[in-house]
Symmetry: C2
Subunit: 345 residues, 2 copies
């Protein structure tokens, strides 16, 4: 199943008025260093999804609803293909989906992945937000709890992070923080980092590990790759259309330099408290600077932080083509990271 195809389909049913962003740079062919399958994904035309410019709440609702429907159906199909059970529950009054692999090894019985989906604080409602967690559950064999947090524009900052943190606290009570790894990509990747800031501030125990994929660490258009990889990244394209609209809708007038909106601005003391953190990006990623800026800040605060940057991949592309061997490798490396972290407990 290719999410790029899915996104293209979604864009066709969504608001058609969105002009394609002016591509700041020419398209680059896929390098020979990729598998044929991933090369196809990397060489595909720009996904139109993030080039839309919704202005009214009705327009946002239409986009989010269409996305939830299409991506949600695809996610349930994917779960079936992967033999992953999906169960809708509530934790601390926050809706979640609990993903269970077909079998769980004994030493993984007490562990859990707390998963926070991406989508610019505007997309990913319901089961449409569980896609990335499905192979994590199936291939790495952990139970995953996927939080279905409230989103903008109906529920701006801090609704999303309040919901995620409320559910996290309940999960930590049940499993013990040392058995919880928090995982997410893009907006989810930022929320993973923000959750650690919230936990530190509230005196709630830190999870055993964080996996923060290409985090939206700076909500504002600040950082080199927002410019240099504009028109190179074929998933996001650029900051200037729906990403910007989503940032404004979610921040809702709050200062984007607030670390609870842009965790790259967290203070040193908070970062020193971080648990082992894996950050992930791709060389064509519009959020490459978000990722490496966060990583360097953690390293300079002596937080145990690791970075992986994948050859030629655009934003979050490491989980958008389930057929590519690179995707399998990516999930394996996340599993290796968790193994390293948990073997130390």
């Amino acid at each position: 199943m290719k999410l790029t195809r899915l996104f293209t389909a979604i864009s066709c049913v969504a608001i058609a008025s969105a002009a394609l962003a002016a591509q700041d740079r020419e398209a680059f062919p896929a390098p020979s260093t990729l598998s044929p399958s991933m090369a196809e994904t990397v060489a595909a035309p720009l996904v139109p999804l993030w080039q839309m410019e919704p202005k009214t709440t009705a327009e946002w609702e239409k986009i989010a609803g269409d996305y939830a429907k299409a991506a949600g159906e695809a996610a349930l199909k994917l779960a079936e293909d992967f033999d992953v059970n999906v169960n809708a529950e509530k934790i601390a009054n926050v809706p979640v989906h609990v993903l269970t692999p077909k079998t769980i090894a004994k030493h993984k019985e007490k562990k859990v992945i707390f998963y926070i989906h991406g989508g610019g604080y505007v997309l990913g409602h319901g089961v449409s937000g569980i896609t990335e967690a499905i192979p994590m559950t199936a291939w790495n064999g952990y139970r995953s709890i996927c939080v279905d947090y409230r989103m903008a524009p109906q529920h701006p900052f801090p609704a999303a992070i309040d919901d995620a943190f409320a559910a996290y606290k309940a999960v930590v009570k049940e499993y013990g923080a040392e058995n919880v790894a928090v995982f997410g990509t893009s907006t989810g990747g930022a929320m993973v980092l923000i959750l650690a800031l919230q936990a530190h501030a509230a005196g709630v125990p830190m999870p055993a590990a964080l996996i923060s994929g290409t985090p939206w660490a700076d909500l504002d258009k600040v950082g080199d790759s927002y410019f240099v990889n504009a028109g190179v990244d074929n998933v996001l394209g650029n900051y200037d259309h729906m990403i910007k609209a989503a940032a404004l809708a979610y921040a809702n007038g709050h200062d984007m330099k607030d670390p609870l909106l842009s965790p790259v601005y967290a203070d040193d003391e908070s970062l020193k408290a971080f648990p082992p953190t894996l950050l992930i990006s791709g060389t064509r990623d519009l959020f490459l600077s978000n990722t490496v800026r966060m990583h360097t800040r953690l390293l300079l605060n002596e937080a145990p932080s690791e970075l992986i940057v994948y050859e030629a991949l655009s934003h979050a592309q490491y989980y958008l083509n389930m057929q590519a061997p690179e995707t399998r490798d990516h999930y394996r490396l996340m599993g290796d990271f968790l193994k390293r972290v948990w073997s130390k407990n």
Copy 2:
């Protein structure tokens, strides 16, 4: 002292016939995420050095000689500024420069940095090849042994790696492999990796650690950032002129897929034997793909490998502006890596 200025000066005295490469992409201003000093370096015009196209041995000699003179004088001045003693010696009949900091802490007395300079296998003769090792010696307080290996076109493959490996073996005998870290950038970064392949193949003990800055891991123009960062990287510019000429001169007809020329093609078994390895690049680096491809291969072979990618920096720019706070941070992070490695011994 700014090496970018130095490089500009060198290019003026060198062969003037070199056409500036067609810049594939427009220049990007420096992002606001950098210090004012580093922003100046990042926004500087393309360094003309690597845009030359020497054809005869005499032309290579002129470029290398001019470089050695200008960069050599600058290096000695830098050593003076940093209070680092430079001593020319021979080890296993290979010329080296031994760099000694003003004071050495007791626990660092028995440690040594084995340093391999860069320069495309064509530049960096004599003291012109010690620049990067000077702040490593001064700021991190280790003795450094800088190998002055033979270079192309006069001495093609495998002269350079033979010299480096011969000196390494002698250093290991004197210090013990567990006390040696091997360090280098660009061509030196590749030679660091190749040295580990040589050691593995020959049954010579691995060093305690490798620091491989933006390694020339694929000698051929293979890898995404050779294309996507062409015209973005303001140090190297592109592959197509002097870099290509240097690759051809050094490879001298050998297959560039040979891991002793392009270590990214090393077999799995060799990579599994690697010691803790730190790889370093920048988001604008023409060699970003070289760096991350190597890192991913090491990770997939469960070698303890770390990656740092610096915001907005071009090739090797992390040591080309000694005034920038980013440069100080970079050397600190390398020191932290060595501390972690050696605290485990």
